[in-house]
Symmetry: C2
Subunit: 294 residues, 2 copies
């Protein structure tokens, strides 16, 4: 494969637009596409070109990056949307969205059957990591497929983990990552709710437990936002409704019990069900507040 210079970037939401901006700054020629005209305007502002269809973005590109919402969107864009056909033969498609591993495997097989390469490459680090180019990228594909794409990974992330050769393996690792993240956010909320019910000052709880053996990355990151009444939205409740749902689907598919993830999911689902799906995910605390009257 020739050196990469032109990148079709499909999916310009909170993550995608920040990642596309980093690629522009790193000197790549980025052609963006999103179903939302507002998202397309955003990327024009920082110097990306926009296409009027996903296939239009892919035509003539050296590589396609997908940062769409889920596997169904990825599938629609790639196949009925004509992206695979529009991309040159032998060129790689990077799926960076969080998707179920078995759907990633299926999509990968179909893409490769059409003579294009496929890299399963979900990320962790959130919008802050996307903005700063410090994402952790988990990649599954043969080494020879990954190597030419390294400059793209370097523009987006601080750490590249080669999980394995088979697409789907990185999606599984991301799923396990989300299991822990989701449980840890809910656990922090449970701790604050119990503390409040027992008349302890939650700021003291955060101060002491955020730096003890009880701490987690999520406790330190979401904890302060749990103590605000209307925190800014860093990542929405509905992301964990989806991602812990994906954890449960993955576990059911593998026939594995994940009881803590199941309970954590219930708490995010109930939070969304009370109309808070777009609130910051720290607000899962409000399900505890509703339950415990805190």
């Amino acid at each position: 494969m020739d050196a990469l210079s032109s990148i079709a970037f499909i999916g310009l939401g909170a993550m995608g637009r920040r990642m596309a901006a980093r690629l522009v700054r790193a000197g790549f020629d980025v052609i963006g596409y999103d179903v939302s005209p507002e998202a397309r305007d955003v990327v024009t502002a920082f110097g990306a070109t926009v296409a009027l269809s996903a296939a239009g973005a892919a035509r003539g590109a050296d590589i396609v990056i997908l940062m769409v919402v889920n596997a169904a969107q990825a599938e629609a864009v790639l196949f009925s949307g004509g992206v695979v056909e529009a991309l040159g033969e032998g060129r790689p498609i990077l799926l960076m969205s969080t998707c179920p591993a078995w759907l990633v495997s299926d999509i990968a097989e179909r893409v490769m059957a059409q003579g294009r390469q496929f890299i399963d490459a979900p990320v962790s680090g959130g919008t802050a990591g996307a903005e700063a180019g410090t994402l952790t990228i988990m990649a599954a594909a043969p080494q020879a497929v990954l190597d030419p794409v390294r400059p793209v990974f370097e523009a987006l992330g601080a750490k590249l983990v080669h999980v394995g050769d088979r697409p789907g393996q990185a999606a599984t690792l991301k799923t396990v990552n989300q299991l822990l993240c989701g449980i840890h956010i809910a656990a922090a909320a449970e701790a604050f709710s119990l503390a409040t019910k027992c008349e302890l000052d939650p700021h003291l709880v955060l101060d002491v437990l955020g730096s003890s053996a009880a701490s987690s990355w999520m406790m330190k990151d979401r904890g302060p936002r749990m103590l605000e009444s209307e925190p800014a939205v860093s990542s929405a409740v509905d992301i964990f409704v989806k991602d812990l749902g994906l954890v449960l689907d993955t576990a059911r598919n593998a026939k594995a019990a994940v009881p803590l993830a199941a309970i954590a999911h219930q708490l995010f689902v109930a939070t969304s069900g009370r109309g808070l799906g777009s609130a910051d995910d720290s607000q899962v605390l409000r399900s505890y507040a509703a339950l415990n009257g805190t």
Copy 2:
């Protein structure tokens, strides 16, 4: 109160003997007592005196420290065991064991009704923190009661948190601490079990997720021991059977739902029930192994 020089230290188990050793090294005159003769021999070896009864240790001491197993032992030693009576009037009793907050309040009232002072002072940091003198000490008592005891806290811990004036408040904070610690250990085990079931290398999972947004203090500390077949015992499964039990009792007492803690407790209980109560608490992983065949 005069300066403290002589300390009665009651309860010389894995934590207590290490804490007593630090006090000896800090220049205090330590008179130890434990129901087990073996524990008494250990403290003699590093320069503490031993008494043949708890009351004998307390007689003439400037302060009594209790690091017994639970509130029932504390109560037995203090009242039927005659420790309160043996200690001089106005002298302080420090209860450093992890106990239910309402029992701590009760014990404190009875102690103070007999004209002695009481400090609710549980710790976090485990045997490693006890050994190194780097415990976090959570203390609840009026400031005027805490101040003269400061040299003792400084010999034992790296951080003293004044939780409030009322004994029981520090026990509550410790309980919330244990809620998070217990859930985080079980969550790490759940993550490894799902990963293994999905054929991911658990060492890779630990490497990547131990330093991502999915990480917790417990994941980093217990995770490596989850990947050993017979890890050294740093803290036993039965400690979390007790401590998460205490979380559930506290929450029930306050009428608060703590669903994640309840599930985590079940996993520790089942691990103990299969004969692994004395194994390292990382081995809660084996309940997942039993459930999921991993």
